[in-house]
């Protein structure tokens, strides 16, 4: 599977310079997005970040104030929803309560001129695909939330759209069903090979299913790429904090390189020390190593290492969640795996905190808009 739509001649969906304002607030600002055919793409962000507005513009339910939207090369910017080769799975499912399941699934086929018998045949095929064979004669109200969602999925997929839009489709499901639905959705997407544009605020969902994801904030894309790249090397502080937990420490940069406020040197693999003020370093809590100060390795304190005091410990069984305070007052979180090998730390202990230079990242000052191209090369490093 291609990871960048730019590799292929024609993107399944392409948004260029799309903006949408609601009275005085900007919902989406100058957004560029290309989805490759057959790609599972997740738009991830907090509520109000513009992800749903973006999806609704692709579906035709909102019109952009500026910019173009193309589907498989065809400009659909101003086409109404019923003339777009796009289908949507709504958050509330929006099944037709007056129709039975079979007629719900066949609705789109019937509207595009398929005969009743043929529509029924194909609808049954897709009900099979989502594991609801034999439910055709029931009414939507007779189905559970999870089943209704499968119907909504079948109703959209049966039309073979150029792209399937999913608007937080798991929002109303409980955690257990959600987990199994994620696996199932990924399987279905592989089977039908349709491009999925999946909007969610749940990072686990996005990371586990998406081929690529974009993190949105305040109407802009903060970072975009494969999940592991965005997680391991987030482009912005917002992305780092939104996608999982992240320790962000201030940096002082001078001619000799980057330092933490206590003077310890900081090195990041493949990256030159940043010049200028306001840069920070990000380290994921699970990437930190703790060692009681007394038995620190005889080698002098190398780069990417500092001391901190344990202030809080929560034992979670598989791991221990340790909160530490650095001498300059930053709060740091570390997840320590309980392998049984390490000596447990206690509250008040002074520990040496270290991390590998491949597992930390510089974060630019302020808010920086970063596209896919810029960061792709760094991810390879």
């Amino acid at each position: 599977m291609t990871t960048s739509a730019r590799d292929t001649a024609e993107a399944a969906v392409s948004l260029s310079g799309v903006s949408r304002r609601f009275s005085d607030t900007v919902a989406v600002e100058n957004l560029d997005l290309d989805l490759a055919p057959g790609e599972f793409f997740a738009l991830l962000g907090p509520s109000g970040c513009g992800k749903t507005t973006t999806l609704r513009m692709v579906g035709g339910f909102e019109l952009p104030d500026s910019g173009r939207i193309r589907l498989g090369g065809q400009d659909v910017t101003n086409l109404p929803p019923h003339k777009r080769d796009v289908n949507t799975v709504f958050q509330s499912y929006a099944l037709f309560p007056h129709l039975n399941i079979l007629d719900n699934v066949g609705f789109g086929l019937r509207r595009s001129g398929v005969s009743k018998a043929e529509a029924d045949r194909r609808s049954n095929e897709y009900l099979d695909l989502v594991g609801l064979s034999g439910f055709g004669r029931r009414r939507p109200t007779q189905l559970s939330g999870g089943q209704q969602q499968r119907v909504a999925l079948a109703r959209a997929l049966v039309n073979h759209p150029k792209v399937l839009l999913l608007d937080e489709p798991m929002g109303a499901l409980d955690a257990k069903i959600r987990k199994s639905m994620q696996l199932e959705l990924k399987r279905i997407q592989r089977e039908v090979g349709i491009t999925f544009l999946y909007v969610t605020h749940d990072q686990d969902e996005a990371m586990s299913m998406a081929d690529r994801l974009a993190v949105m904030n305040m109407g802009r894309i903060e970072d975009m790429g494969e999940p592991h790249r965005v997680y391991d090397r987030p482009a912005t502080e917002f992305t780092a904090q939104f996608l999982g937990a992240c320790n962000v420490l201030p940096l002082l940069a001078d001619a000799s390189g980057a330092h933490l406020p206590d003077g310890s040197a900081v090195v990041v693999d493949g990256r030159a020390a940043p010049a200028g003020a306001g840069w920070k370093i990000g380290i994921r809590p699970e990437k930190l190593h703790l060692q009681p100060v007394g038995e620190a390795s005889p080698a002098p304190a190398a780069a990417n290492s500092t001391t901190a005091t344990v202030t809080e410990i929560s034992y979670l069984g598989a791991s221990t969640d340790v909160v530490l305070a650095t001498p300059w007052g930053s709060v740091v979180q570390a997840y320590v795996q309980n392998t049984g090998a390490e000596r447990p730390v206690a509250r008040g202990d002074e520990v040496r905190l270290s991390w590998h230079s491949s597992q930390c990242f510089y974060l630019p000052p302020g808010e920086v808009h970063t596209g896919d191209d810029e960061t792709e090369t760094e991810a390879a490093a």
Partner: protein, 293 residues
């Protein structure tokens, strides 16, 4: 403990008892007494006695009837049906507009406006229409002044005036139930229809209309029953050619004091309405009884 449980379990029955008593005292007893009065014979001076006179029904509605009650009934059903149709055609767009197109803060004032007409006495409202549409009323005066109407042209005393009056008076009873049903529809349903290639027109006939069927059904019940039995509009806006069954019931009861005739007419009206509405409910295809409520 046991007493408490008994009490709790008896509450629904106690509540049902109240409702049942209400139905028996205010519906069942009057219904039975009405039916029995229709089988009495006598006259206002001597009083009436129950003689099981089933013949009265044939007498009133048979081919040789002295007064054409069958015609009055047929006319009432026709006028009532026409008025119901008008309220649907006019009321549905109003309800649709209120439910989907009006900004939220304007909904309550506009709905109040629909209901407001009910605050004025029904008789006064109808009288006012009689004045407005009458020979010396503003409309005809203007039409004559503009030479759009001849000196003999009149609006009152016509079927149109009566049907218009019926439709006007029942209008809120059609708008409100349709509005209530439309308002409950998830707007995403319409987006889903558009998403699945339904143009706005197709989307309306495939989703909005079927989903508002229950509201239309309630509206038809309220408007049709009310209009067919109405004695006031035909009396105030109509004339000899628009005489309806409701008027006949009222006149035979209050003026001729033929209680048996009034009761028999009313029983036939009730039967006719019952049969029509039952047939309509079956014909309208209600697989689910819940669709109606």
């Amino acid at each position: 403990m046991r007493l408490r449980r008994w009490r709790r379990m008896s509450v629904p029955y106690a509540l049902a008892l109240l409702g049942s008593a209400w139905m028996i005292v205010l519906f069942l007893i009057p219904l039975i007494s009405q039916l029995s009065v229709s089988l009495m014979t006598g006259d206002p001076e001597q009083g009436y006695n129950l003689t099981w006179n089933f013949g009265i029904y044939a007498e009133l509605f048979g081919p040789g009837a002295a007064v054409p009650y069958a015609l009055f009934l047929g006319r009432a059903l026709l006028f009532g049906g026409a008025a119901t149709l008008i309220t649907i055609l006019v009321g549905y767009p109003v309800a649709y507009f209120l439910a989907f197109r009006v900004p939220r803060r304007w909904k309550t004032p506009l709905l109040s406006l629909v209901v407001m007409s009910l605050l004025v006495s029904f008789i006064i409202r109808t009288y006012m229409w009689g004045f407005i549409l009458g020979g010396h009323g503003p409309i005809l005066t203007w039409l004559r002044a503009l030479h759009l109407a001849g000196p003999d042209f009149h609006i009152l005393d016509t079927a149109g005036a009566v049907i218009g009056g019926l439709a006007y008076n029942s209008f809120p009873y059609m708008v409100l139930p349709i509005y209530a049903v439309l308002e409950r529809i998830d707007p995403r349903t319409f987006e889903a229809a558009a998403d699945l290639y339904a143009s706005p027109r197709v989307g309306f006939f495939r989703t909005t209309l079927p989903l508002s069927r229950a509201g239309i059904f309630s509206g038809i019940l309220l408007v049709f029953i009310d209009s067919v039995g109405d004695p006031v509009n035909s009396q105030l806006l109509g004339g000899k050619t628009t005489y309806m069954i409701g008027q006949a019931i009222q006149d035979s009861y209050l003026i001729q004091q033929q209680y048996n005739v009034a009761s028999a007419l009313s029983a036939v009206l009730m039967l006719a309405l019952g049969v029509i509405l039952f047939a309509y409910a079956r014909f309208f295809g209600t697989e689910n009884i819940e669709d109606l409520v």
